[in-house]
Subunit: 210 residues, 2 copies
């Protein structure tokens, strides 16, 4: 029953000046998201802060959700790229339990660091959960990563049925995101312990699947 809101960029900027404007809108929106929530964010306010007039923004984005979508895509892609590289470098494998745990912790730390570096990362993370149409993007990204996890671990756990292993990987990836968001939302509250315990939790689970 969600009303469809067009998200696609109207025009892709071609000239260099236009590319700058496009990026300026995104960067300004990201900065503003740090201060206010995505709910308070308006196109007019973005224009004002960026020193642009509304038609300049509307040339590239039909509404604020289109801006959030690009920001969300970029944040997720930044994280996805790192996770995929980590997986392909054998992130889930290791000679000992300790080694596998250490790799997992390093990866989880990196996820947190990426979200913290990203302008407005916290608010974008929230929007990805709360805005129905961004949520779909989040699920696509998560399922894609879960598939990669599945492919990576499938040969190691031949006894586990495919349906269960797939669902388990989806759960692991989702809870990994939740844990990193937990740290990003409250960075002063035992971030390191939370990360370690989360990874320990996951490592023990993988141990049992063997």
């Amino acid at each position: 029953m969600n009303i469809a809101i067009p998200l696609e960029a109207k025009l892709q900027p071609t000239q260099a000046r236009a590319q700058d404007t496009y990026e300026l809108v995104l960067q300004t929106a990201g900065e503003m998201l740090c201060d206010m929530g995505f709910e308070q964010l308006t196109t007019n306010a973005i224009c004002k802060r960026a020193g642009l007039t509304p038609p300049a923004l509307y040339r590239y984005f039909p509404n604020k959700y289109a801006i959030l979508k690009v920001l969300g895509d970029r944040l997720m892609t930044a994280q996805d790229d790192v996770v995929i590289a980590w997986l392909e470098a054998g992130g889930l494998t290791g000679a000992t339990f300790e080694e596998r745990l250490a790799k997992s912790i390093a990866n989880q730390r990196e996820m947190v660091a990426i979200a913290q570096r990203f302008p407005g990362g916290v608010a974008i993370g929230r929007a990805l959960r709360a805005v129905p149409m961004l949520q779909e993007l989040r699920f696509i990204s998560r399922d894609m990563i879960a598939d990669r996890f599945y492919s990576a671990v499938r040969p190691h756990f031949p006894a586990i049925p495919a349906v269960r292993l797939r669902a388990a990987m989806r759960m692991i990836v989702e809870l990994g995101y939740a844990a990193s968001e937990m740290v990003v939302e409250e960075p002063d509250r035992e971030a390191d312990i939370i990360i370690r315990e989360t990874c320990l939790l996951f490592a023990l689970y993988f141990e049992q699947l063997r």
Copy 2:
């Protein structure tokens, strides 16, 4: 840098008729949240659907966040009450691993069921994550439950330092919420497997703490 928005109910209804109006607003808002997101929800729209005029609503709620706050409180309290009762009935204890796991699964199922029964539960859950001031309520509720978990398990794991055990319980509770929201958001996608695997994950972790 969040702008403070007053959330407190202006007046508590005294007469029966007023109590009905108060509840009607909440129920209508809950229903509307099922259809649209909380971002699209407006006080005027609630009034229209409820067959009230705006001043009637404003008599009890200063803005839509105050309504969301009450709904969020009710949802969280409904879940908290069940978890606390479960804990006090020895939910985390059991003679065998299987027994402890089964208790955990029953509890997790109940959490999902409560959110699904609650009108607008999905959208309220999202709002609790995405709206900064509701988020604080969520943290308070979560920390309270985490404290209860801590008290319940403290005697069983005397070797674990307090800081670590507290953080671990906070993580467990947070990930438990995340897992139940995952099921609520996508109820058709292997809900049962997700619940079982989540509880298995937690149970293995508790096993290792011994």
